[in-house]
Structures are given as C-alpha cells and as structure tokens.
C-alpha cells in the first residue's frame, strides 16, 4: 500500500490529482519542465523535481527520468493524468518493473486498446459493433489505403493508429485529394506520436459522440457511470461536454452501458477508462475507441453521479474494492463542462500565449472550476491550450445552461485571448438549447456572430465604451505633452488626474 504519489503531468489535471491525494491523506510529488517552475501543480505539491527543458519530449515524456525521480523520492505509485505518458504501455510496464504501482490499467490493456486497429478487432470479437474501416491492419502503405478507400466509401476519415485528440486526423471527400491528405496526416502523426501509421474509417453522418465512463477493480467488478455527450467539437477537439446526453433514454443507456462494460472486460480492464461510441440518427451505435485513462471531461460525470473518479482510481490502485455497484449509480440532475482554451475565437481559434494579468474565476452555487493557472502565470506555446475547465450543475439541463451562462460572464481572464465568447454564444444558440447537434455542428452550422448582426443596445454600449477610452487617452496624451505648465512630476500629475476622474 502506497502513501505517496508522483503525478507525471502538469496543468489542471495535475492539480486535480493532487487534490484527490490530499483528501486521501497521501503525499504528492510533482515533476515540471523549466518553464513550469512556478506552475500551480509545483506550488501545491509536497515535493517537486525538475525534469528538463520545456519541450514535452525533454520533460513530461521522459518516462525514464520520471521513474528515477519516483524511486529517489520514495513514492509508491505514479498517476499519469491524461496525455503525455498516460496511454503508453511501455511506460506503465516500466513503472511496474521498477516496483511501483501505475494508477491506471494494466500495460496489456493499454497496448490492446492503444493500437486502434487491434482494439477494434478485440471488441468486435466480443460482439460490439464497430465502424467499417481498415480494422486489424495498422501499417498499410499509401497504395494499399488508396485501393481500399473506394470499398469503404467516401466521405471517410484518415486516423493515426497511435493517435488521439484529433492529431493526425484528416477527412477525405474524394479519392483525388487523398494522397495529399495522407501525407499531411502521416506527418502530423509522426510529429505527435513518433508513429506515422494511419488507418481509414467510414465517416458516419449526423453522428453524435457519446462516451461511457467505466470503473473496474481488481476483483472483477466492472461498472459504468453513465454517458457523456461530447459531440461539440472543433477539428476533433472537444469543446463542451455534458452528462447525461440529451439524446439518451434509459433503455439505450443500459444497452450501451452494458456493452461498454463488456468491451472493458474483453481486455481484462482495471481502473478508470472510457468507451467512446458514435451514435447515428437512427440510434445505431458503433465502438470508436477506448481511452485507457482519466478523461479531461470526467468532472461532468462526477457532478451527476457524486462519484469522485480520481479518488476511486487511487483506491482501486491501492487494491480496494469498488465502493459502488451498478444499481447504486444514479444520475442526478445535469452537468455541463466548458473547456476554456487560450485560443482566439475571433481569429480562427489561433493559440494565444503570454502572461495572464488577471484571472477571476466564477464561483457560487453549482459551479466548479478546475484550473492550473493564476494571474501572473505565463501561457507558453509548448503544451496544449487548455487552461481551465468550467463545470456547472443544475437540476435540469435548462438550469445547468442558465448557470453556465452566468458563470461564463463572471469568468475574467486577461493577458491572453480565450474561447469564453465562443462558449457564451454557443450557449445562446437555439440548436444547442434544443439539443439538436452532431459532431459537425460547431464547424459547419455554428458561426460567431458578426458584431454588426448583434441586436439591441449592446452595439451602442460598445461604441460608448470605445469612445470613452479613446477620449481619455487623447486627453492624457495632450496633458502629458504640456509639460512646462506644471510644477510637479508627470507621475504625480497623472495620479491626481486619475483621482479627480474617479
């Protein structure tokens, strides 16, 4: 049984895991790169050790160094979070071989589910429907893929065999454009995962992305914690998640949940995991992939089930039994999560970096903020753009939406651009409110409003604000130029001027 945990991650998820450890009375060890010396996870942990230069491959991906630090600092277990080393079976294996506990599934399960082609073959054998595609063959050459593509039919997707998070993924509408897209997908996959292998998959139209949270202990108990609706994506990156899904009913939930548990059993799964499904308009569902780790969006499930997933992960890793049976899991109310990214929604979601000058998170009833940043922290281009997650709970979906709108308006982040305005407008859209959306909604049918289209008095208010700021600046400039008229220093004078206009 371990009493000290190393967290092999950074950002909000490292902070989330530290919180769970603290509540369980466990000591924590953080690791960090050179640019993360003053990151929140370093500040909040009991011990922290430097990994190396900023680039992930020199820091958070250095499994060897992380294990060395773990041994030196006397931890008993390593929690990988998500991303980085979370789904690397060789790392999980190395952790075990070093005599430490990996808080996650067994290396064999990570390997089976990590190669998506093998994963599809495994779950298909267990009787779970899969999307048509080049299953079971991870390393086809371009010529072979081009030959198979017309049999699958267009549109189709090129996906990275080792992939996740939309990297190395391309959509193909016709054969002619496929060679170029294949090259781009391979290049991106090679850069992101060190593996340029890709496979093809039929694109399901009007698809919803619905996933099931699984928990499994080492005594053979497997339960699901209901679903999460993750259809709102842009470039295959999730933006807003909710639980339950407005598309789901009890009958479909129990059927999909049961199959999700069966998929987990097919690889002898342990700890927390997620089975992703595509669901079409006729409620046919297909296995998409299994994420053998904690998900970014796990808090929405925590809010509606009351289960602390990270704490359960640690308990399971300590050899305890699951505290819940399937019939004890009830979904209570509704939860939404908005991913707050350092991206400029008005500029094609371009990453935004720089120092955060002010961060005022929302609070109040039903609001949860998971974050890894604070005012004064600098957002660097080395890691992904997620800086915060805003989660709101309500008794009904409508209430959760209203609460989320309120919380988004309260959230103040200055210094970098964020996608908060995107979320605010998304939550105002009729289709979102009506639950009428699929995985292509954000990219194809949702557009940020042009300022000229905004009705009501807001344009006038904006004009007044812009004018007042301009007026103030011109006046200030004019007064600073007339230096000789004053007998005191400019700073003193500006201070007085400011006070006078307060």
């Amino acid at each position: 049984m371990f009493n000290k945990v190393l967290i092999a991650n950074r950002g909000e998820i490292a902070v989330r895991i530290i919180r769970a450890c603290r509540e369980l009375g466990l000591k924590t060890v953080a690791v960090y790169s050179e640019v993360d010396r003053s990151a929140l996870h370093v500040r909040q942990s009991d011990e922290a050790y430097l990994l190396g230069p900023p680039a992930s491959r020199d820091s958070y991906l250095r499994g060897d160094k992380i294990i060395e630090i773990a041994k030196r600092s006397g931890v008993g277990a390593i929690h990988p979070g998500y991303g980085f080393l979370a789904e690397r079976d060789d790392f999980a294996q190395a952790v075990q071989e070093a005599g430490l506990i990996f808080i996650g599934p067994r290396p064999s399960a990570i390997a089976a589910m990590g190669d998506k082609a093998v994963a599809r073959a495994t779950v298909a054998a267990a009787g779970i429907p899969v999307v048509p595609g080049t299953e079971g063959e991870g390393s086809l050459r371009d010529e072979e893929l081009l030959a198979i593509a017309p049999q699958i039919g267009f549109p189709l997707l090129i996906k990275a065999t080792a992939g996740g998070g939309g990297k190395g993924m391309r959509e193909v509408d016709q054969l002619q454009e496929m060679p170029g897209l294949l090259a781009a997908a391979r290049r991106e996959a090679e850069a992101a995962f060190g593996d340029g292998n890709v496979y093809l998959e039929k694109l399901i139209s009007e698809a919803r992305h619905i996933e099931f949270q699984i928990m499994a202990d080492s005594y053979g108990n497997v339960i699901h914690l209901g679903e999460r609706e993750c259809s709102l994506q842009r470039r295959h990156q999730k933006l807003l998640e909710e639980s339950p899904s407005p598309f789901m009913d009890d009958e479909l939930r129990s059927r999909m949940g049961e199959l999700a548990c069966r998929a987990a059993r097919s690889v002898d799964y342990l700890n927390a995991g997620t089975i992703e499904f595509l669901v079409d308009a006729d409620r046919n569902f297909y296995f998409l992939e299994m994420n053998t780790r904690l998900q970014v969006e796990h808090p929405v499930t925590e809010m509606v089930t009351g289960v602390d997933i990270v704490r359960e992960q640690i308990r399971i890793a300590r050899g305890r039994r699951l505290r819940y049976s399937q019939d004890q899991i009830q979904l209570n109310g509704w939860a939404l999560e908005c991913r707050i990214n350092a991206e400029d929604p008005h500029n094609n979601f371009r990453p935004s970096t720089g120092q955060l000058t002010s961060v005022i998170p929302p609070s109040g009833p039903g609001v949860r903020v998971d974050t890894g940043v604070y005012a004064g922290f600098t957002i660097t281009p080395y890691y992904d753009s997620l800086i915060s997650k805003l989660i709101c709970w309500g008794e009904t979906r409508g209430e959760a939406i209203l609460r989320m709108r309120r919380a988004l308006e309260e959230f103040r982040i200055l210094g970098v651009r964020t996608n908060i305005p995107f979320h605010q407008q998304l939550l105002d859209s009729h289709r979102f409110i009506g639950g009428q959306f699929d995985t292509r909604f954000v990219e194809e049918r949702f557009q940020l409003e042009q300022p000229g289209q905004v009705e009501g008095k807001m344009p006038l208010i904006a004009a007044v604000l812009a004018t007042l700021v301009t007026h103030r600046e011109t006046q200030l400039a004019a007064q600073i130029v007339r230096r000789s008229e004053r007998d005191t220093s400019n700073w003193k004078w500006v201070g007085r001027w400011e006070r006078m206009h307060r």
Binding site: A342, P351, A463, V464, T467
Partner: protein, 165 residues
C-alpha cells in the same frame, strides 16, 4: 467633444461634454466610467445601468469584449474624419508580401522553395504551436522570395518567415 464610433456599417454619434454626461445618438445620459484595478477592464454606469467590458486597442481600432460579443469599433473625432474623407482611397495592394508567424512555434515543414510560383491558398509554412499544426497559406498568387527560416527553427510571434513577390 464630438466623436463618431463605427461598428460594421453602423455609426454612432457620441458627444462627451461636461463631466459625468454624454450625448449618445441624441440621448443625454449620465456616465460614470472607471478602469478596474489598472486592467484594460472598464466598468460603466450609464444612467444607473451597469456594464463591464474588456477594452483594448488593436491596429487602428478599439476592441470591446462585452457580454460574450467582440465589437471592433473605429473611433474618430470630426477632424480625423474630415482628414480621412479628403484623402483618396487606400494604398494600392501590391509589392512584396511578408509572411509572419501569427504565433510562436516550431517550423515543421516548408513545402515551397525560393523562386517557386505559388497559387492563392497554397501552403507556405507549417508551424506547430500548442501541439497543433497550423498551415500558413499564401494570401494571393505570387513567387516565393527569400525564405528566412529553416525546418526545425523555433520562431517568435510576428517573425518574418518568408516573402512573396
């Protein structure tokens, strides 16, 4: 002092006179205006109604982020407007175009060579930032001039990557 604030195709006439009062589109309103904690955030009380917005200048414009909407506002006083109206149409769009990095990142690939003719929309540089690959495309047809970076270079925001003639 009289100003004209333009958002898209709408123009508002705003007059700032005595302290605490403005004339906005013909309405006389009581104004109380503060910057909050030395940040580019402003609190505005307009006839008792409270608004808070993030106001920053960008190029020649003022950007106002208000209740989830970004308004790009051009503010001119009367003298500036007369000046603009008396000068002829804007500068002619030709000559050399410099492709600059829109964000800091790593140059992953440069799929063009110096002297190569390119079409509008063709990829010039692939830049990786925050784990995403961003394809920087040609804004118009032309010929690739000098390439100032190499694959594997880390570049700063606004650094010139290559020129297009």
């Amino acid at each position: 002092m009289k100003y004209l604030a333009t958002i898209g195709d709408r123009t508002f006439e705003i007059e700032i006179n005595a302290d605490g009062q403005i004339l906005a589109d013909g309405q006389l309103l009581a104004v109380d205006f503060h910057s909050v904690a030395d940040q580019p955030v402003y609190s505005l009380l307009l006839d008792g109604e409270s608004f808070e917005a993030n106001v920053s200048s960008a190029d020649q414009n003022i950007e106002v982020l208000l209740r989830g909407h970004l308004f790009v506002v051009t503010v001119e006083d009367e003298r500036q407007r007369r000046l603009r109206e008396s000068t002829s149409a804007g500068p002619i769009q030709e000559g050399e175009y410099s492709l600059t990095a829109p964000m800091p990142g790593l140059v992953v690939a440069i799929p063009v060579e110096e002297g190569q003719p390119v079409e509008h929309g063709q990829n010039l540089v692939i830049l990786e930032s925050m784990k995403m690959q961003n394809e920087l495309k040609a804004p118009r047809a032309g010929t690739v001039g000098r390439i100032r970076v190499r694959t594997g270079d880390n570049v700063e925001q606004n650094q010139t990557l290559l020129s297009l003639t």
